[in-house]
Amino acid sequence: MSAEEYQYIENPMSVSRREFLSISGALIALTALPAAVVRRMAVKRNDYIRARTAGLYKDDTNAKVRVSHANQGVSRLYQDFLGNPLSEVSEELLHTRYIDRSRAMA
């Protein structure tokens, strides 16, 4: 190809300033849309944990008796059977011991 034969032709696809702005705006909106969905998923990811937590706190708020030492059923168990906390029967039935499992793992 010789130098005389070369002709410069301007790109026929030209974009005006206004067109450029609106196209970039649309592109930004398109990319932002999935980002918003992902963000929403990330934020709502633990909603079921919060809902269950709130359910139990609601049960506590609605309860007539809200402290363990006022549970009449437990008091009756101590009266009729266990005596008092850390009594001999309590130690036997309600307490335990633990074992060292670390050596078996090594």
Partner: protein
């Protein structure tokens, strides 16, 4: 000391969770939820769980996108056959966290409180009700008293004859995954664990002694206790050989040779298992009318019910310890600093001990999500710098309400940190 093979005592279920090799895609999600590095396998290859290291928490199971991990122990059919047996009194022990989650399996929104519907459905299925919230209250009485003894011994030099209080800080011992974690990895901290059993095991021991004799008037050997738990590790806990205490108690009373030994808890159903059992029996929880239960073993306080939340055990303990030491109820009863989803929550309470007429400041900490949060707290204790007196630990992020036995959420996961799912290298 007993023979321990591969970190299990004789009689224990050797691991609860295994991975289905056909379903595993090797995506490594489970590894990011495992507190003990028990899962091995290259990215893209089938993963396996080392049962010797596994603490059976089931976080891998509820967070796996492919549903590959599953439980080896399934008691649904056994429980159904026991329910049909007229000679057996089947006792359903309902854990706190189950009531706010089981509805999800029947199309109810998460967090719907289904206690009374559960009573109705379980009556219909043939269960006697033992609300584990009752045992939670009992746990607070025992564990709280133990804590008061430890504090009085450490702060005021108080001594109780024939009773040697353990060291501070005291750890809660309700979470069986946490207990096994300590036994496996931090044996030197075992004395710090509260000697109180978990509510499930207390419930089993009470059901087969007091419950059998005074409440249902049946022979303990004919009582079949079923823990309904949000937890896979409870299946392991129930199989621990030390939990035969009701039988040991009966043998002591009636002399040796009183029949075949029975465990305190015969079977454990997770929340998912119970939903499956009810569906198999044709009971729709969402359509069951609410019912009350008049048994004294179904009475519970608000402090017992919040055991299922992270911080709940601590809050319940603070309410009772405050009342016992100062003679006054905590006001307000809501102990906010231990609520919420922060990894490590701390608080201080100053209590005037009426017995010694002196003030004691008690520092408490609440840890959940073992994988991310426990190591710094334990390192502090090992190096003697720990400012805490009482530490509540639950393995699962958010506490038992997000336990490994709970309904698997269709969307969402147990990742609490905002960016955690993206940090693949952690």
């Amino acid at each position: 000391m007993e023979q321990i093979t591969k970190t299990f005592q004789a009689g224990e279920v050797p691991g609860i969770i295994i991975i289905d090799a056909h379903r595993c895609k090797g995506c490594d999600t489970c590894k990011r939820h495992c507190a003990t590095k028990a899962i091995s396998g290259m990215f893209g290859a089938v993963h396996t769980i080392d049962a010797a290291k596994c603490i059976n928490c089931g976080q891998c199971l509820i967070n796996c996108p492919f549903g590959a991990p599953y439980e080896m122990v399934d008691a649904v059919n056994t429980v159904v056959s026991k329910l049909k047996d007229p000679n057996t009194t089947v006792v359903g022990i309902i854990a706190p966290a189950v009531r706010v989650a089981i509805g999800e399996e029947f199309g109810m929104p998460p967090g719907s409180l289904a206690t009374r519907r559960m009573y109705g459905a379980m009556h219909k299925a043939g269960f006697m009700i033992f609300d584990n919230n009752y045992a939670a209250d009992l746990t607070i009485m025992e564990e709280g008293t133990e804590f008061i003894h430890r504090v009085r011994a450490a702060v005021f030099g108080d001594e109780i004859p024939g009773h040697k209080p353990g060291p501070l800080p005291q750890f809660t011992s309700c979470c069986p995954a946490w207990v096994r974690y300590v036994e496996l990895n931090y044996p030197s901290l075992i004395p710090h664990l509260s000697s109180a059993k978990s509510p499930q095991q207390m419930a089993g021991a009470v059901a087969k002694t007091y419950g059998a004799a005074k409440v249902w008037s049946v022979r303990p050997a004919n009582v079949y206790t079923v823990g309904v738990m949000p937890c896979t590790a409870k299946k392991f806990e129930a199989s621990r050989p030390e939990f035969r205490s009701a039988f040991a108690h009966a043998s002591k009373e009636q002399g040796a040779g009183s029949g075949t030994p029975y465990p305190d808890i015969d079977a454990v159903l997770t929340t998912r298992d119970l939903a499956r059992l009810l569906k198999e029996m044709g009971i729709d929880l969402a359509k069951t009318p609410e019912a009350a239960d008049e048994s004294i073993l179904a009475q519970y306080s608000g402090a017992g019910t919040i055991f299922g939340n992270t911080g709940g055990v601590m809050e319940a303990a603070v309410r009772t310890v405050h009342a016992v030491l100062t003679g006054e109820e905590l006001a307000p009863l809501e102990f906010k600093p231990v609520r919420g989803l922060k990894g490590v929550k701390t608080a201080s309470v100053t209590l005037l001990d009426t017995k010694f007429k002196k003030e004691a400041t008690v520092n408490v900490a609440v840890v959940h999500g073992l994988r991310e949060n426990i190591t710094p707290v334990l390192d502090e204790i090992l190096s003697g710098r720990s400012p805490y007196h009482f530490i509540e630990v639950m393995n699962c992020p958010g506490g038992c309400i997000n336990g490994g036995g709970q309904p698997i959420p269709a969307v969402g996961s147990g990742w609490l940190g905002a960016m955690s799912p993206l940090l693949a290298w952690k």
